[in-house]
Symmetry: C2
Subunit: 221 residues, 2 copies
């Protein structure tokens, strides 16, 4: 998620609008993910940037719009990752398992994104609703799921009546919960869902669950 790594080399030009904006977004992402929308401090974001608070308002207008911009970029990263999905060469069962594993990996690798989405849900997705970009972002993963499901149905491997959005919800719920509820789950049940030693176990469990669901004979709906 980090877009700015270059140290400010002294001789270099000082004014760089694009870099300043990217740096603000980087720090804002961390700060909002850390503390939530209301817990985040604009002054804190500014302090951890090479620029000042004035620039945040200059480029983004305000805290609310900054949070929306953070969300837009975070969802953009997801969409890009999903566009890299390439499972069409696999048979349907392997393809679905692979897709589930990539979702699993991606959620694990982007805990800040998970936190931002949780925070946005607390605010009833009002920033997404107010964003032009996010309204029509779509989901490449959904198209992939549709293709796999269709081919799995054709070959008679999968149950016929499974919907792509539903399957996406099923996969996401497990991957999301594992990260989002890590702390309360760990405190209450004494088990760290992100324990590296358990990672392969949960990754296989997710795949097994999805495949079992898709290949089981269904009772009457």
């Amino acid at each position: 998620m980090t877009s700015v790594e270059e140290p400010a080399r002294p001789g270099e030009r000082i004014r760089d609008a694009a870099r300043t904006q990217a740096e603000i977004l980087d720090v804002a992402t961390q700060e909002f993910a850390r503390a939530g929308y209301d817990g985040a401090r604009v002054d804190e974001i500014a302090a951890r940037t090479r620029t000042t608070k004035r620039m945040i308002y200059y480029y983004f207008g305000g805290k609310e719009q900054l949070f929306t911009a953070v969300l837009e970029r975070a969802y953009g990263v997801i969409r890009e990752a999903e566009q890299q999905l390439d499972v069409d060469h696999l048979d349907p069962v392997a393809a679905i398992r692979r897709l589930a594993e990539l979702t699993f990996d991606h959620h694990e690798q982007h805990p800040d994104f998970i936190r931002l989405v949780s925070i946005e849900n607390i605010h009833e997705a009002q920033h997404i609703a107010g964003s032009e970009k996010l309204g029509k972002i779509g989901s490449p993963a959904l198209d992939v799921i549709r293709r796999i499901l269709a081919s799995g149905r054709e070959s008679g491997l999968f149950t016929a009546d499974v919907d792509a959005v539903d399957l996406h919800a099923m996969i996401s719920s497990f991957c999301f919960f594992r990260v989002s509820n890590r702390h309360t789950f760990g405190a209450l049940f004494g088990r760290d869902l992100l324990d590296p030693a358990q990672r392969a176990h949960y990754r296989a469990m997710l795949g097994d669950m999805v495949i079992a669901y898709l290949t089981a004979e269904r009772t009457a709906d």
Copy 2:
């Protein structure tokens, strides 16, 4: 979750410590669930109570402790509901399905609780960690799952190596996600996971998924 409904009948006695505390907890639950920890306003909680802000500090000490008290009571409600679980008379498959459905129903009926848990996760479960009550609350549901799994294993219906906590995580993740991520999911995919018309569909889907997982032949671990 609401403990106080009686309108303040004018002739009645004015001082009632227990009622005042319960009323503060009721309103605080709503306010914290509405706006998150940092978004919640102590003044707002006081205003929507028949008492004043002074009483919040008198009884609870501060905003942080009030939130902890809210969490303690909310988890207490869950625990009580779980203690009512009675599925031992069912065969293992029906029992697991019933347990999943009851979890599904309970999550749907307590969106405020889901929001509080999401909020607590943003704060890395620090209030649970600091609470004597919540540390050792346990989970009656886990014992039920353990019993069902054991009997299902004995009769050869279930896969042998499934852990109770893992199964609880699987069921909870779907039920929790459906409520916690309703807004972002709806905004991005145009589907309301809480649409009453879809309720039976998702309820059955959860049961089918869990049963399929438990009764499928497992690939090598």
